[in-house]
Each structure stands twice: as C-alpha cells, then as structure tokens.
C-alpha cells in the first residue's frame, strides 16, 4: 500500500531530523555554556578564549588573507604527502598481501615501522630534506602510508577463497583474479585504511609545522601560542577539526555507497 509506504518514509525522515536536531542543540548548549563561563571573572581572559572572540578573530584573519595563506600552505603539504601515501601505499600493500614470499620477507619490517612514533623521525627529515616542504611532506607520507599498506595487505589476505576458486574454474589468470575478485573486495579495507591515514596525516602536518615550519596552520598555532594570542590558537584548532570532519564524512559517505551492494539489492 503506497500510503503506508509514504507514512513510513515520513516517520523515518522525522526520526533522522530529530536525532540531528538533538546533536546540534547539545553542541549549541556547550558553546553557550563556554561563552557564559568566559564572561565571568573566574576565568583569566589572557589564558582562554570564548566562541565569540574566536569567531571575531577568524573573521579578521580571513579578511587580511592570513588564514587562506596558512590553510593553503598546510593543504599543500597534506595533499602531496597523502597523495604519495596512497600512490605508494596501495601497490606496496597489494604486493605484501598477494605474494606469500614478499609477505614473509617484509612483514616484520612493516610492523616495526608501523608501531614507531613517526614524529621522532622529524629531526632526521629536517636534516635530509631541509626546513621547507620536503621534510613536512616526508613526515605526512611516512605516517599516512602505513595504515594504507597494512589495510591493503589485510584485504588481499582476506579475499574469499571460494570466490577465487570460482575465478580459477572459469579460467581466470592471476591478473584477472586480482582485477575481478581481489581488487573489488578490497575496497572496504581501503576506505578504512584511508580513514586512519587521514587522521595520522593531519596530525603530522600540524606536528611538522609546529616542529620547524615557517608557514601553515601548525606554525600559526605555534607562533600565536608563544605570543599569547589564544584566540588565534583556537581558530587554528577549529580549522583542523573542521577539516578532519569534512574529509571523514566524505569517506564515510563513500563507504556507505560501496557497502550498498552488501546491504540491498537493485
């Protein structure tokens, strides 16, 4: 019955809207609380900020182009590093998972590198690649590549054995097996890897810029902090958080799209 279907859809939409409104209102209440606390005399304005001051500062920084310049610098480092991590990470992970010999040879090495805190390498990177773009990209690359490698490796090792047999029975070559069975079934793993890589990558951009940069959001935060511009520090933090949310939601959306073949039909 179509009327029942429409009613069901309306109810469903109301539910979604309701939960969304709830999460927004919690957020707004927290902001208001923060604003109110910051206006009492219990908090020293020199060491803290408030939502209204952060917004005002952001507007000023946006007008004079400072914000755009710093975001651009950070985005460049992140983009190059993350792109390289994907470009190298996927083939390396595939090779590790697909070929048993490669797996046995290199897995301990990968595990060792994966568990090391990469920021410890930053002084070395600065010596090798200088204080500019090179060292920062290197740090992003090395922190973002391992989640991609490890997840692609897991994807290859978890390919449904029965599906591989079907492929073989119909005469698939190794390359065809990889293309028609292993690669499509690796997509959920890849997306998980990308999500992890994203978190690690963002962290590294900021860390690298704080460590020894002269541009970028991380540098802006570090400089503002050392000159007691608390509002500017908060602007930087908010931007990083927003950036993370946007990319994470994007990947989440892609994940849902890809998962649709598992959950529903036509």
């Amino acid at each position: 019955m179509p009327s029942d279907k429409a009613a069901f859809r309306r109810r469903k939409r109301l539910e979604t809207l309701g939960s969304f409104a709830l999460s927004i209102s919690v957020f707004v209440v927290l902001l208001l609380l923060w604003e109110w606390v910051s206006r009492t005399q219990y908090v020293d304005p020199l060491f803290s900020s408030s939502p209204s001051r952060i917004a005002a500062t952001a507007l000023v920084l946006l007008r004079d182009g400072e914000l755009v310049r710093q975001i651009g610098a950070s985005a460049k480092v992140f983009g190059i590093g993350f792109g390289l991590a994907i470009g190298f990470g996927i083939p390396i992970g595939v090779a590790l998972g697909w070929f048993k010999v490669v797996n046995r040879t290199f897995s301990p090495l990968i595990a060792m590198f994966y568990s090391t805190p990469h920021i410890a390498m930053m002084p070395l990177f600065i010596i090798w690649f200088g204080l500019g773009l090179g060292s920062k990209v290197a740090l992003v690359l090395i922190s973002a590549i391992f989640p991609v490698i490890v997840n692609m490796q897991a994807a290859m090792l978890n390919v449904d054995h029965d599906l591989k047999i079907v492929g073989r029975a119909y005469g698939a070559s190794q390359w065809q097996l990889f293309k028609t069975v292993a690669l499509p079934s690796s997509v959920p793993f890849l997306l998980t890897g990308l999500r992890l890589a994203l978190g690690h990558g963002l962290l590294s951009v900021v860390a690298a810029e704080v460590f020894g940069g002269s541009s970028g959001i991380g540098y802006m935060i570090e400089y503002a902090g050392s000159t007691f511009q608390i509002d500017v520090v908060f602007v930087g933090v908010v931007i990083i958080a927003l950036f993370g949310i946007v990319i994470d939601r994007g990947l989440h959306y892609m994940n849902r799209k890809v998962d649709s073949w598992r959950l529903n039909g036509a």
């Binding site: 449904d160 029965d162 599906l163 047999i165 079907v166 492929g167 073989r168 029975a169 119909y170 005469g171 698939a172 065809q176 028609t180 069975v181 499509p184 079934s185 073949w261 598992r262 959950l263 529903n264 039909g265 036509a266």
Partner: protein, 321 residues
C-alpha cells in the same frame, strides 16, 4: 572416425574398456599415427602404439585410475581421498555420483574440473588429458559463490568476460540462459537481494552461458531448504531435457540422483572407489511424476542398499543379533 580420436571400446557396455586398453602394446606402427593431431600437438603414445579393435569416437569424459591425496600442510601426512576411480561419460549423458558425506566425491569432481591435482591416473576430455580448468567444462558450486558487488547479469556473464567475450555479445548470449533458469526481471539485482534458490539459479546460469560440453554439479542443491530443493531438481530436469548436455553431478540425495540421471555411480567410503554403477532405465523425457512409479522406488532402494553395504552398514545387521 570423428574428431580424429580413436580408442578401444567394448560395444556391449558402450563405454571405454580399460581392461582391453591395458593389454601390452603391439609392435610400434610403421606409418605415423593419426594425421590430425589432437590435444594441441601432444600425441598420445598409448593410443598410437595399438591396433584398434573397433573405431569409434572416444567418450566425452574419460577418467582412468585416478588417485587423489591431500598433504596435511603441518604434519606432511597424506590423506587419501580417492583411490583408483575409472569412469567414462558420453556426450548427452547425465551421470551422478553418490556416496556418504566426506567420502571424496567432491574431491573427485574438483579434480575433473581441473581444480585439484591428481596423485596418479589421468582425466581426458575428448581424448585430451586435462591440465587445469578448461572452457569445455563448467562448475556449479554447492554454495552460490556469486561476486557480491556484481549484478545478477554481470555474474552470469563472468565466465564469458574472463574469456574476453565483448560485454555486448556476452549480454546477448546470456539472454537465452536467463529465460531458461527463469531469472528474467532480476538481471539488475545484486546477489544479496536474492533468496538461496535464486542465487543458485544464477550459479547455474553462469555455468550454462559459457556453453560447456560437460557440466559439473557439486551438490548443487544441498544448501537449500527441502521445498526449494525439490523445485530446483524439477527445474534442472526440464533444463536438462531441453539442452541434453553431458552432466556429472555429485550428490548425497539419492532420489535426486535417480530422478535426473542416466547412470548412478556409487562411491565407497573414504578413500573413494567405485562400488557399483546402476543404469537408471526410467523412460525419457522424464517429469517429476516419475517419482511415483514403482521402478523409481526400486532403483532408489537399490542405490540405498549399495551405499549401506559399501560403508559396512549392512541392513541385515539389525537382525544379526
């Protein structure tokens, strides 16, 4: 002389006779053996060295003294699954293998598909020894094993795609099969939206669309509920009556084997050997109604007895005490 392949055949049985074929070879022939070279240039020496008694085409599938063993990867011990099985299937024949669960019949089918290596013996299709899977054989697996990210149509054309058939031609070719297995209207569905029976139809369609000479069915309906299973058995019967393709089916459903087959081969318990071969002389074309005939009951009973006695579970045991 068809296909250029010749062999020794016991005409009374209508199948390849190993006993005759294993006689010591006569003197090497003076003139070179067959002009047309079968099997991609590899001439079978055993055939070339003999004087044929009668000349007819070889069986479609010829299995000669096949042994299969599995090596345990941790202990290195070899488990024997199949011991010395020989059988032959003619074109257009429906042959079933029955036996207890885990007796090695699935290993045997997998070997015929070219997916499991032999320890000894040989398997030939049209007189040519097989080395792995080939386009003249298709397998319908016990589990549907469809690619979950592909639609029904793209799953059906999978085998054709692997063989390099262009997408458009593959889709055109699958139209007939889709009607045959009654999947019309479901082409754009993903497997997860289909019931077990429907998934198994896709599995069957995927095997049929490549137009194999021999269809290999590995307990195709074992994973289905009883009602769906019966429906699918009846449909397979009508599909077979329409196509008359050579089929080798492994099953442990005895009534299924009797209903569908021309011959039922009984395997012993592991390691599998051929215990008996029963010709199912129910008239063709058959309909599901044949199950109500006394002959059907008698044949089913006969197969039961053979399986029981092969497993050492003689029916008389009940009364022996």
């Amino acid at each position: 002389m068809q296909n250029g392949n010749v062999g020794l055949v016991d005409l009374s049985l209508g199948r390849f006779d190993r006993r005759t074929a294993d006689l010591p070879p006569a003197l090497p022939p003076l003139s070179p053996p067959p002009l047309s070279v079968p099997c991609g240039g590899k001439v079978s020496v055993a055939l070339a060295g003999r004087t044929p008694v009668s000349i007819v085409s070889l069986p479609l599938l010829d299995v000669a003294d096949v042994h299969i063993g599995y090596e345990n990867p941790s202990s290195g011990e070899v488990t024997e699954a199949v011991r010395g099985v020989s059988l032959a299937i003619q074109a257009g024949e429906f042959v079933s293998i029955v036996g207890l669960s885990g007796c090695g019949k699935s290993s045997f089918l997998s070997a015929v598909a070219g997916l499991t290596p032999l320890t000894a013996g040989s398997i030939s299709v049209d007189g040519c020894p097989i080395h792995g899977p080939g386009p003249e054989r298709s397998v319908v697996f016990q589990k549907a094993t469809l690619l979950p990210w592909r639609t029904v149509l793209d799953n059906i054309t999978y085998g054709l795609e692997l063989r390099g058939v262009p997408r458009k031609a593959a889709r055109a070719q699958s139209a007939k099969v889709i009607d045959l297995v009654q999947l019309r209207g479901f082409e754009r569905f993903h497997p997860s939206a289909l019931s077990g029976g429907m998934q198994q139809r896709v599995n069957l369609a995927r095997a049929l669309v490549t137009e194999p000479r021999l269809l290999l069915l590995d307990e195709p309906f074992a994973a289905l509920d009883a009602i769906t299973r019966e429906t699918m058995q009846n449909e397979l019967l009508s599909i077979w009556e329409a196509t008359r393709k050579a089929v080798l089916m492994v099953t442990h459903q005895i009534d299924e084997a009797v209903l569908l087959s021309d011959r039922v081969i009984v395997f012993s318990d592991r390691p599998a050997r051929v215990v008996a071969e029963i010709r199912i002389d129910l008239p063709r074309p058959r309909t599901p109604q044949v199950k109500h005939s006394p002959r059907f009951a008698a044949l089913t009973e006969q197969v039961w007895d053979l399986i029981h006695s092969s497993a050492g579970l003689k029916r008389e045991v009940r009364y022996a005490i």
